[in-house]
């Protein structure tokens, strides 16, 4: 099997705002995602998880290190990847349907065919009949569904997801997680799923990568999740194996989370 995304010794250093000194968000990160693998990356808040994802997307060039997509070095934007952002990313002046087909339009596939496919995707994410609503007329969960359809309509081989459901309430979130698993299992894309929620990470993934607290974040542990599929995210949380895995990973994470918490406290303290 070839790795669909491979980060080799990736380091990202940012110049600090004051102009003097610099901040290293991630240092010497090696991360490989197999074809069709669902990998979650968990870590304490503010540890540079999104930085890694931006590097894989080609939105951010690492200060040093290499990114390979299907064994080819990544130049510019990663055209094989779809990205789902944590914040609102829909164009507010476009209706749900127009948002879904935006990527097709960028490719020059305009017109009836594109609209037809857009409507199909809206149906698949449970939003048929909502095509002409504008984002502000949709609930948070519905907007996430539109984002999902917007990404998946382009049929990317790699999905990059940056805490996509963190803004949703628990019930909506579990619904969306199940739907994501269902859509994913249909054609097994490679997924990098960023989250700070360990339960979400375990219930969705094949593998969980734990990051250390920032600065200079690096992976400190990898755990294969051998839970059977298909899964139901709310049921699987009660399985004994789930609790066992959760305990193990949580033990490894705890110190880092405390470290990260301490740092954010120091940063905000006067």
């Amino acid at each position: 099997m070839t790795a669909s995304v491979c980060l080799e010794k990736v380091t990202c250093t940012f110049a600090s705002r004051s102009g003097e000194g610099s901040y290293t968000a991630v240092r010497d990160v090696d991360l490989a995602i197999e074809d069709g693998e669902f990998v979650s990356v968990v870590g304490p808040t503010g540890c540079g998880k999104s930085t890694l994802l931006n590097v894989a997307a080609g939105l951010l060039r690492p200060s040093s290190g290499h990114v390979k997509i299907h064994d080819e070095p990544l130049v510019g934007i990663n055209r094989r990847a779809g990205y789902m952002f944590q914040a609102e990313a829909l164009m507010p002046w476009r209706s749900a349907l127009q948002n879904v087909i935006a990527g097709l339009e960028f490719r020059g596939e305009d017109g009836e065919n594109a609209r037809h496919r857009g409507a199909e995707w809206l149906e698949r994410v449970g939003l048929s009949g909502f095509g002409d609503r504008y984002p502000h007329q949709l609930s948070g969960g519905m907007r996430k569904r539109v984002s999902l359809a917007q990404m998946l309509i382009l049929d990317p081989q790699i999905l990059l997801m940056d805490e996509p459901f963190s803004a949703l309430d628990v019930q909506t979130r579990q619904l969306m997680e199940n739907e994501l698993l269902e859509l994913w299992s249909a054609d097994r894309k490679s997924v990098i799923f960023i989250t700070h929620d360990l339960e979400e990470a375990i219930s969705l993934s094949d593998r969980v990568v734990v990051l250390s607290a920032g600065p200079a974040t690096r992976p400190i542990g990898e755990y294969v999740i051998d839970l059977p599929r298909p899964r139901d995210v709310s049921e699987i949380r009660l399985a004994p194996r789930f609790i066992e895995l959760h305990d193990r990973i949580w033990h490894a994470m705890k110190d880092e989370v405390l470290k990260g918490y301490q740092q954010t406290r120091n940063r905000t303290a006067p």
């Binding site: 990847a81 990313a89 164009m91 507010p92 935006a102 960028f106 504008y134 984002p135 609930s139």
Partner: protein, 268 residues
């Protein structure tokens, strides 16, 4: 409740005219400020006469060509000023070096009272409508320009990144993200910029022209015909109200995607 408010608003208008009428009509009340009872009428006009002048204008059809000219000037100034403001705002918003270079000049041009340019425009464009359009353009341009410039700077980076990941080229970003975003800022300044276009047209007419409502006012002023001056002012006010109403209607249609307060979200 809304209907009742409407009635009160009309009543207030009537009351204002009544007070005006009584205060300026000689012999209705004893003179308080002036010894000569017709002095008040000389300075403040008489509502009945003013309404008669307006009635004659509209029934006789004398006012329509003037209104038409003022409307043309306003519309042209608005369209040209907006397009220029949009184009240059987009350009400078996306070109940091050019914007840094031109920054002091733009600030200076904006700080300058642009009405003083009117005589120059008269020389350049003559007494026809184009000198008024030019004056209006200088007023509209800066409002639209600053709005668009700010709008471009404030386009959500997430929306931009998202469009980039969906495969948008730099050109497509401009067309599908920056332009709609900037246009929405143009629309949000619609009331102000239409108002400014109107101000430019009327002030230009007032300073020198052969047609337009501003010209009517200027002529009447020359012959101390205060009633006609007031009639012109009232016509302009009504005209501005109609214009504002039209803008509101256009805004409602063009900005459907904007969240309005109190609108309920549709829960799935």
């Amino acid at each position: 409740m809304r209907r009742k408010l409407w009635v009160w608003q009309v009543l207030l208008l009537v009351a204002l005219f009544a007070v005006w009428h009584v205060a300026t009509h000689p012999e209705l009340i004893p003179p308080v400020v002036w010894d000569n009872p017709s002095r008040a009428a000389f300075f403040f006009g008489e509502p009945l006469k003013i309404l008669k002048v307006m009635g004659d204008w509209f029934t006789g059809g004398e006012i329509y060509p003037h209104l038409w000219v003022t409307l043309q000037e306003t519309a042209l100034a608005f369209v040209i000023g907006s397009v220029l403001g949009l184009a240059i705002g987009l350009w400078l918003g996306l070109a940091p070096f050019a914007s840094a270079l031109l920054d002091p000049y733009i600030k200076a041009a904006n700080a300058m009272p642009r009405v003083v340019l009117a005589p120059i425009f008269m020389v350049w464009f003559g007494l026809g409508i184009w000198s008024k359009v030019a004056l209006g353009v200088t007023l509209v341009f800066f409002i639209v320009f600053f709005n668009v410039y700010q709008g471009v700077k404030e386009v959500s980076p997430v929306v931009l990144n998202n469009a980039t990941m969906l495969g948008a080229t730099r050109r497509q970003l401009l067309r599908y993200v920056y332009l709609p975003s900037a246009t929405s800022w143009v629309f949000s300044s619609l009331h102000t910029s239409v108002g400014m276009a109107f101000v430019g047209a009327v002030v230009g007419e007032y300073l020198g022209s052969a047609k337009g409502v501003g010209y009517l006012i200027h002529m009447a002023e020359g012959s101390f015909d205060i009633n006609t001056v007031f009639a012109g002012i009232l016509v302009l006010t009504i005209f501005a109200l109609v214009l504002d109403f039209a803008v509101s209607a256009a805004e409602k249609r063009l900005l459907v995607w904007r969240p309005t307060q109190g609108e309920t979200e549709q829960q799935l």
